[in-house]
């Protein structure tokens, strides 16, 4: 295998952005994935950052969500009230990429605490913009590494709503976005494309066994009817990731 699991994640996420116009981006892996998509399957993709940036064209790999390279040369830089009000709550974000410390089978996310809220074992960062991003983005993709600590039967805290208790529970509460659609991991791709809106395995990355995926998930994982194998990264995709987007290998 001439690529890393992180590279496979980046490439799979980029491919999922084919034809998308606006994406709400985080730093790190998601940022590389979005820029890869802009160079390949989504040339019209506009990058939106919660710091207030629309249409960023970063000249280097951004080191944080508010890196000055995101500002210089952007299409528009606005107060965060406008970014969250006009763009996100206004319904202009087509896809958002999120991750979390814990996810459950309906795609709800926890980024707040491990343990009890009042006396936490681990105090995590909290929501940031994730709570409202999960509510408003028309489509929601997750990027997370598979691990038994992260894929849990019950969250310690619901920071960002996925499909809540499944089925149409999200629509019944009136949440505008469609909720999590895709979950890209280092071992496999999962989605929520069933009436229960339950996480299901749809594609294993090359050379990954079903058992090794199930081993990292804290409940009996549902399988899609047709289980595929993820096409490996192409030479062109690897070249862009390695030589153009992350030449210092910070996120691979």
């Amino acid at each position: 295998m001439n690529y890393t699991p992180s590279e496979m994640m980046i490439v799979a996420a980029a491919r999922a952005l084919a034809g998308v116009r606006t994406v709400f981006v985080g730093v790190g892996l998601p940022n590389i994935a979005c820029n890869l998509a802009r160079h390949t399957v989504a040339p019209a993709l506009e990058l939106i950052y919660e710091a207030g940036v629309y249409g960023a064209q970063p000249a280097r790999l951004p080191l944080s969500i508010g890196d000055p390279t995101l500002v210089s040369g952007a299409t528009s830089v606005v107060p965060m009230a406008d970014l969250f009000g006009l763009y996100l709550q206004g319904g202009l974000v087509e896809v958002a990429l999120l991750g979390g410390a814990q996810v459950d089978r309906f795609g709800n996310l926890n980024t707040t605490v491990i343990g009890d809220y009042a006396a936490p074992k681990v105090r995590l960062p909290g929501s940031g913009g994730a709570c409202e991003i999960a509510i408003h983005a028309r489509r929601l993709f997750y990027i997370m590494r598979l691990s038994r600590r992260a894929f849990v039967e019950a969250l310690d805290f619901v920071t960002s709503p996925g499909h809540l208790t499944g089925g149409d529970s999200r629509a019944r509460l009136g949440l505008p976005g469609a909720g999590p659609e895709l979950l890209i991991t280092d071992k496999a791709i999962l989605n929520f494309d069933n009436p229960q809106r339950e996480m299901q395995l749809v594609s294993l990355h090359p050379d990954v066994s079903l058992a090794s995926v199930q081993a990292e998930v804290g409940w009996p994982l549902r399988l899609a009817d047709d289980l595929a194998v993820t096409p490996p990264p192409t030479d062109d995709e690897l070249h862009l990731v390695r030589d153009v987007l992350d030449p210092q290998a910070m996120y691979r």
């Binding site: 944080s64 508010g66 107060p79 009230a81 707040t112 929501s127 940031g128 619901v158």
Partner: protein, 304 residues
């Protein structure tokens, strides 16, 4: 009226024990110079307010200035956790820290409500989450037009807001460009405001581009001229984030005694920002210098 003060004077005059203080600036324009001066003046029992507490509040909390934190994202941006904050929350060291948390939009909405004199601000967040369960200030109101209930947050009125920007005139009229964050809203929401700038310019420079004026001198109590006052964060067009320091802090701050050693050397051990910069050295400042990317000039027109 606005006064031009040194950082030591401004903090002595406007930041008192027990107050609520917002040093705003979303990942940029973070006024470390003000935070360090508050540590040096050994303020206690502060309520620290910031969307992203960042390293500056990690340092201030390690120094024991705070009893409470109001925030929306607790991280070392792009690096990892805030270890001093975690020690305070998870172990009560050096002292317990009360948390009051929102999402980013919730914090922005609290500032907007405070700035515009509203009793609450509505937003479509929090539905389906555990946040309202742990923060009773998040409420829901009925839509009089027949829609679903909508979340609201109450106004936020920091006793003092400290805002870093590129430039101001001596009256405190302030130009800021780049990430606008919620600095304007925090300034208008606060009871007192300190503006800290890289450059003091003539009034005519400000008046030449009135759309660029984020904060009017009318609401500014003190202007502090403090070049590089936001290091190791950045000021658009003036310097870059000192990322090696953000990475180093991840290591330093994992250990309580190393953290104190750092504070002794870089905060208590220097009298002011000028001394901090001398200690930091020109090579570092030079490394952080960006290239040129001019906005271009537009014509407002002379109408006589």
């Amino acid at each position: 009226m606005t006064e031009l003060l040194s950082m030591a004077e401004a903090v002595a005059r406007y930041v008192e024990d027990g107050m609520s203080v917002a040093i705003e600036g979303f990942t940029a324009f973070i006024c470390f110079a003000a935070g360090h001066e508050i540590i040096r003046q050994r303020r206690r029992d502060l309520t620290l307010i910031r969307m992203t507490p960042d390293l500056i509040y990690d340092q201030m909390i390690a120094a024991g200035v705070a009893r409470k934190l109001v925030f929306s994202y607790l991280g070392n941006p792009g690096v990892g956790a805030l270890h001093a904050v975690r020690r305070a929350v998870e172990q009560g060291l050096p002292a317990p820290l009360e948390l009051e948390e929102y999402s980013h939009f919730g914090m922005v909405a609290r500032y907007v409500a405070g700035a515009t004199g509203l009793p609450f601000y509505p937003l479509h967040s929090y539905v389906g989450t555990d946040l309202p369960r742990v923060n009773e200030r998040i409420q829901f109101v009925t839509d009089p037009y027949g829609g679903k209930p909508v979340a609201v947050v109450p106004p936020l009125h920091p006793d003092v807001a400290i805002i870093h920007a590129q430039r101001a005139d001596p009256q405190g009229n302030t130009h800021l460009w780049g990430l606008l964050g919620a600095q304007k809203e925090a300034a208008f929401a606060a009871r007192r405001r300190i503006v800290v700038v890289e450059e003091i310019v003539e009034e005519a420079v400000i008046r030449a581009d009135p759309n660029r004026t984020l904060i009017p001198g009318l609401i500014v109590d003190a202007v502090v001229h403090e070049p590089y006052g936001a290091h190791p964060s950045y000021v658009q067009g003036y310097y870059d984030r000192d990322n090696p320091f953000y990475l180093a802090w991840d290591q330093i701050s994992r250990d309580a005694s190393q953290t104190q050693t750092w504070l002794d050397e870089w905060v208590y051990g220097v009298p002011d920002r000028a001394a901090y910069l001398a200690k930091l050295g020109d090579a570092t400042l030079k490394r952080l210098q960006p290239g040129s990317a001019p906005s271009g000039s537009v014509n407002y027109g002379e109408y006589r």
